[in-house]
């Protein structure tokens, strides 16, 4: 099956293999740095009693940092960034489904929680960290 020459007939041109491993190690330090920042944010959420909005904001920052790590792994380590546009698109475009996938299913879980809190008093009272002020409808939906 395999031919003795160094390329297969399917590949039209080769990207020049880089001579140094500098880019690989730079990516390693970037990934390590991002992970350390994530850990510091995660630990500070644990160490300090942050207000709700800041807690949520920091989780958002951690998610964005994770996406940045994913970008570096796929683009540099998996060399997708060095491939031609056709290949990048055939991989990235199907992954766009995740936008709907994540939004729809988290929305669904949240809707189930608000409905249950509204109609299932036992569930609401036994699982809340602090008893709810009945005027606060943000946690169990509007009446």
């Amino acid at each position: 099956m395999e031919h003795s020459h160094s390329t297969t007939s399917e590949v039209t041109f080769h990207h020049a293999a880089s001579d140094s491993t500098k880019r690989i190690w730079r990516t390693f330090w970037v990934l390590l740095g991002l992970t350390v920042i994530e850990l510091l944010l995660g630990l500070s959420m644990y160490a300090f009693n942050l207000p709700g909005w800041l807690h949520l904001f920091m989780k958002g920052v951690i998610v964005i940092l994770t996406l940045a790590k994913a970008y570096y792994i796929v683009s540099i380590f998996m060399h997708l960034g060095d491939e031609i546009r056709n290949l990048i698109m055939t991989i990235v475009v199907p992954l766009m489904l995740f936008i709907w996938f994540i939004a729809a299913f988290l929305w669904d879980g949240n809707a189930y929680r608000t409905k249950r809190n509204r109609y299932d008093t036992y569930f609401r009272e036994s699982t809340m960290e602090r008893p709810l002020n009945s005027a606060d409808t943000s946690k169990h939906g509007f009446e």
Binding site: E2, H3, S4, H5, S6, T7, T8, S9, E10, V11, T12, F13, A17, T21, I24, W25, F28, L31, L32, T35, E38, L39, L41, G42, L43, Y46, I62, V63, T66, K69, A70, I73, V74, F77, M78, H79, E83, I84, N86, L87, T90, I91, P94, L95, F98, F101, I102, F105, L106, D108, G109, N110, Y112, R113, R116, N117, F123, T127, M128, E129
Partner: protein, 290 residues
């Protein structure tokens, strides 16, 4: 500029060559990884759905705070950081092996693949310790009005809301004999089980320091299933990646790729290994960080 770009763009789809400019096996590896990404994505998203449907969820800083050899020291996220570092590091050694392959350097490929295999085995060992620690952990949890001692399993989640004061005393009064024995044994590891079992309930209750006893309600039951299911599925990927890398290592060492004239197989194995690292980035995010 514009004309050459157009000429090149149209050329790709004229037939006779891969419109993606990659070899068949590599393209199929990419497509396999997309399908695998959706499998992992579905698992993690269903975890998210269940988590969003609950008012309370376990704080990862409480669940994952142990480190081998430090006893009961509270070290949140320390061990999982080590695991993450090991996996990133083995991803680096893998990409270095691929790099040596580009230059046809057999010795370099063998060396870096060896480190990659070692990293994979180290990660799996860490996961084995972590699972053992969670499953065999002893936590006091409210159960049927009394208190039971359970670990983190697919059938038990000891990480619910904390219980304080009178509720603990009340639950202790309703705790059956065998659970009292377990509670006392948590603090008195040196006492033989038979000796404790022979004691009366009142005596056992007297030996329990209620101020030191951390009692929680049982948390959402889905936690263990999702945690062990998803990290187990990821661990299985790491395991198969290690096997693939060992095969690549043996083939590289015996000169199979040297005779073939290229190291494309190493690139394909590399794609799989980096994907395993990529998935861990998201498992780390969903279970340990947020």
């Amino acid at each position: 500029m514009a004309t050459t770009a157009v000429a090149q763009n149209t050329r790709w789809w004229n037939g006779g060559r891969s419109p993606f400019n990659v070899e068949y096996g590599k393209l199929m590896m990419w497509y396999f990884l997309i399908s695998d990404a959706f499998t992992f994505g579905a698992f993690l998203i269903s975890y998210g759905t269940i988590r969003f449907s609950q008012n309370f969820w376990a704080d990862p800083n409480h669940v994952f705070n142990a480190f081998p050899g430090t006893g009961h020291a509270n070290l949140p996220l320390a061990f999982v950081s080590l695991m993450t570092f090991i996996l990133i590091m083995s991803s680096v050694t893998m990409v270095l092996a691929v790099h040596e392959g580009h230059h046809g350097n057999q010795k370099g490929v063998v060396k870096w693949l060896g480190w990659t295999v070692l990293g994979g085995i180290a990660f799996l060992s860490c996961q084995a310790w972590e699972w053992t620690h969670l499953i065999t952990g002893e936590h006091a949890v409210l159960s049927n009005g009394g208190i039971d001692v359970i670990g983190t399993t697919v059938r038990g989640n000891p990480w619910g809301l904390e219980v304080h004061g009178a509720a603990v005393t009340e639950a202790l009064a309703k705790t059956p004999h065998e659970n009292l024995v377990k509670l006392v044994a948590m603090e008195h590891h040196d006492m033989p089980h038979q000796q404790l079992a022979a004691m009366g309930d009142q005596q056992l209750r007297g030996m329990i320091n209620t101020a030191e006893l951390h009692v929680r309600e049982a948390g959402p039951i889905a936690f263990g299933g999702f945690f062990f299911g998803i990290t187990g599925f990821h661990g299985f990927h790491v395991f198969s990646g290690v096997i693939i890398n060992i095969i690549m290592l043996l083939m590289a060492r015996s000169g199979v790729f040297e005779r073939r004239g290229h190291y494309l197989m190493i690139e394909k194995a590399g794609l799989y290994w980096h994907f395993v690292d990529l998935v861990w980035v998201f498992v780390f995010l969903c279970f340990y960080l947020i």
